[in-house]
Amino acid sequence: MNQISKQQQLPEIKEVPSRFRNTIGKFTIKRSAACISCGLCAELCPYGVHLRYENYSKPMRPVEHKCIGFECRQNEYYCIDRCPQKALTLRLNPVLETLGDFRWPAEMLLAHWEMAETGHLPVVDLEYNLGNSGGGFDKIRFKLPDSEKYLDVSDEAMDLSLDLNKRRDGRPERRLSLPCYSGGMSYGSMALTALTGRARAAQKLNTLTCTGEGGYPEEFIPYADYVITQVATGLFGVREQTIQYAPVIEFKYAQGAKPGLGGHLLGDKVTPEVAAMRETVVGSSLFSPFPFHSVYSVEDHKKHVDWVKAVNPRGLVSVKVSTPTDVDMVAVGSYYAGAHIIHIDGSYGGTGAAPDIAKKNIAMPIEYAIPKVHQFLKEEGIREEVCFIASGGIRNAMDVAKAIALGADGVVIGTAELVALECVRCGNCESGRGCARGIATTDHELGRMISESYAEQRIVNMYMAWRKQWCEILRQFGMQSIRELVGRSDLLVHLDYLDETQRAQYQPVPRHRMII
């Protein structure tokens, strides 16, 4: 307890505006030709919607995503009413209907862009804790807290750390400052600047990022202590050297988005640099095999783990598997084979290209798998000796907290980091030149849309905003460490398991009609 009560130095938050000229907000504000450029709106608005620079008297286009909308009506600085020319109009932004989906509705995307921009929780009224999927995390709520238990401590005094090695086997006892780290995204699937930015963010946040299966670019070497080397079925870029760089080595047996399939990298994204890294042919699609043809049993798996442990005596071993019905047995098997981290990846997440049929239908959603594995590890008496990580469809800070309360020690985040880099989830990551927004692309032109420092700071900002939410949850339940929350499913309720009067106390399930 002594350790956690000391004040921590948190990474610095810096405002990083959008890369795009026109931001998308919940509301639109239009300025008509009647504007006389008096500058009153800029003086009034405390949110920075109306800008005005010295020596420039023309009106600027409003910064729409900062506008808090109709709730501003009651304020005496409500620009729409105060404008002497009545030149401003405020509306709900109709474009939101075309943005987002059931799992990541438009408001959740906007809120995460805002968090990544400012490092704070959004001022605008946006629903960022719940999606529209009508099940799983979207129906689970934290119980109403007992106000007497409220712990009045600062964010800096909160402990959100995650221990990766609980085996006490003489290997480093690595502690991350956040209960999450970044998922594997490969060199080849993503712009190198975005990847390096993630590694820099991991260093700043004292957490980890992961190479994915596309090899280990040189640019990662300065941050090597924060980069997991992934050993996946394609074995691209897996060398003794790259295994020795890493503090953690991750075996990817399967990924939730496409269980039963290896990684996909379509030909267009295999540029000369990517091909050189992977030792393959330029322009030729790469379909990693499945499964590891060297592993057809838990004994074979143990050989894998032993091999990596021998190559890197200070490395921790993580085993990433998907969520079949017997995921609990697989987790226990992995532990006995010597893994430090059991990482289960549920079906609804993933960032890379995957057949739609696989994402939707194969393997179980992570919400079911977490309590199943947690309980089984407890019954086996090994829960305290293993770091149990969940991923796949964990979208926001609240989902992270719910996953931890269901039984995980921590989580792996992929999609939310991309959203922080202004991903709109259009899903065209794999085809042609790749991501039109410069995130998941290796195209020479598109790949330059992101700078490392932009990626780094946006991701740091988003996690710092999330951290605020986690701290608030912990305070409400009188906890000072997120480790106290692990497995506390007694603090959760599921709306379908409450009778009507109890259910009325909680925020109802969002059910917007969506066109998908």
């Binding site: 026109n22 399939l261 079949p324 199943k372």
Partner: protein, 470 residues
């Protein structure tokens, strides 16, 4: 090793602009029209190249269909004049079951022959009625998966339409004593059938029959729809006859491998008459999928019929019921009834209605079907929009009531089924199952919403207080 079953796909672009989901909206009054930075020039997907054409011809702009939702034009236009909206036609496409998203995916598959692939995770609801409340299992470490989709391992998707003898008997001289009925094995657990609710005409049937021939599957057809143009494909057709009219169609029976009889009391009495016309013929009985279907199946399975074909409605619902059950429950009921009677192994079950996506094929088989039929999906492959105008005798917006290029039509259907087969391989590969026949009734390798909730959330949250999906 026998030659692998392979479906040859080839791009077959649509004849009409499909109804697109999005449209971009411009407010031109603020645009000078000669901006050097115009986002239309910079579109990554080049969807605005023919942007000017539609204005003069009054045609639908092509970007209605091709917009890929990257939002860059909206976010980068120097004047901020771009916006987006959902195409109003898209909202009214299809119905609650055959929703616009399904139609879009079917069009894509019929166009390209490719499996729909996307990035950034799943975007749909957590759980939904029908087949969307079950998941298929996968194998992990201890039960290796199969790499069928890239052809690196052989996965067999065959099923049989012929009845089976449960054991063979031999004479003292070791010659075979039991009579072995004819064997008919089809390479895909999928048959074709055009639903009479929508359009049936020769222009549609010929490309479909041709596609059935290319794929090695069979198509159900009513005798009144059979025209001379279908005669080259007689071997790929299953005439749907009745007790009353089968005698009139002796020639058709003679040319077919399988014939279907509509169920009627005492239908088994005509089996012999049909086998007298063509001794090798396989018999199938068409049964409405209602509350009596299971007991009827049990009765008929003792009569020497080869297969049973159950008809649900177009949404996969039970017929003649006030609160109809869905196909997956109905398949379970029929399958389990036959398992209970120890007769399931001898007979084959085919189900029609509501099969809209590749996963439905796999999930129906897991529930206990041997095969399913594609119905509306075939029409949609030919660009049908399920607008229902044909039901009212009105013209078809994609001209399916007029002659169409047979090559194109059959290529579209072959593409669709090719994509479905790859998706079936994908599911089976993930499960580590090498034979579609092993998938049948394998509910142990699937996960159902009710079970997952009870087993995983029950211990945490207690008793579930809402019924159904909540």
């Amino acid at each position: 090793m026998p030659k692998k079953y392979h479906i040859p796909t080839k791009t077959a672009p649509p004849r009409f602009h499909p109804v697109g989901k999005y449209t971009t909206v411009e407010f031109r009054e603020n645009c000078a029209g000669s901006c050097r930075m115009c986002v239309k020039k910079n579109c990554v997907y080049n969807i605005f190249t023919e942007n000017m054409l539609h204005a003069s011809t009054m045609a639908e702009p092509e970007y209605l269909y091709t917009c890929m939702s990257c939002f860059r034009c909206i976010q980068e236009c120097t004047r901020g004049i771009f916006s987006r909206a959902i195409n109003p036609d898209y909202r009214t496409l299809g119905d609650d079951y055959w929703c616009s998203d399904i139609l879009h995916r079917l069009w894509y598959q019929a166009h390209t022959g490719k499996v729909p692939v996307s990035g950034a995770g799943y975007r749909g609801p957590f759980v939904a009625p029908g087949f969307d409340s079950m998941w298929t299992d996968m194998s992990e470490i201890v039960r290796p998966t199969r790499d069928g989709i890239h052809g690196r391992e052989y996965i067999n998707t065959c099923f049989e339409l012929s009845r089976r003898v449960t054991r063979l008997e031999f004479n003292p001289d070791m010659s075979l004593a039991s009579a072995v009925p004819p064997i008919l094995e089809l390479p895909l657990p999928l048959l074709f059938r055009l639903s009479p609710d929508l359009m049936i005409n020769e222009h549609l049937l010929v490309p479909m029959a041709r596609a059935a021939q290319v794929l090695g599957t069979l198509m159900f057809v009513r005798p009144q729809d059979v025209t001379p143009a279908l005669s080259p494909y007689a071997h790929s057709l299953i005439p749907c006859l009745t007790e009353a009219d089968f005698k009139e169609h002796g020639a058709m029976i003679g040319n077919s491998r399988v014939v279907e009889l509509a169920d009627a009391p005492g239908i088994e009495k005509v089996f012999n008459a049909i086998r007298n016309i063509q001794p090798e013929i396989l018999l199938m009985v068409g049964i409405p999928l209602d509350s009596r279907a299971a007991s009827r199946a049990a009765d008929l399975s003792l009569t020497g019929v080869d297969s049973l074909h159950f008809y649900a409605d177009e949404h996969g619902n039970e017929l003649n019921a006030a609160s109809p059950r869905f196909l997956k429950e109905m398949v379970r009921e029929v399958h389990l009834k036959l398992v209970e009677n120890s007769i399931r192994q001898k007979i084959n079950l085919v189900f029609s209605g509501g099969i809209a996506m590749a996963e439905h094929m796999a999930k129906a088989i897991i529930c206990g079907a041997d095969a399913v039929t594609a119905d509306h999906a075939l029409l949609i492959a030919l660009e049908c929009r399920l607008c229902g105008r044909c039901r009212d005798g009105l013209s078809c917006p994609v001209k399916l009531d007029e002659p169409l290029d047979m090559q194109w039509g059959s290529a579209r259907i072959v593409n669709l089924i090719g994509a479905w087969q790859n998706q079936l391989l994908e599911l089976m590969g993930a499960m580590g199952i090498r034979e579609a026949r092993r998938l049948r009734g394998e509910v142990g390798r699937s996960m159902w919403f009710e079970d997952l909730e009870r087993e995983h959330f029950g211990p945490l949250f207690g008793e579930r207080k809402v019924s159904g999906l909540g």
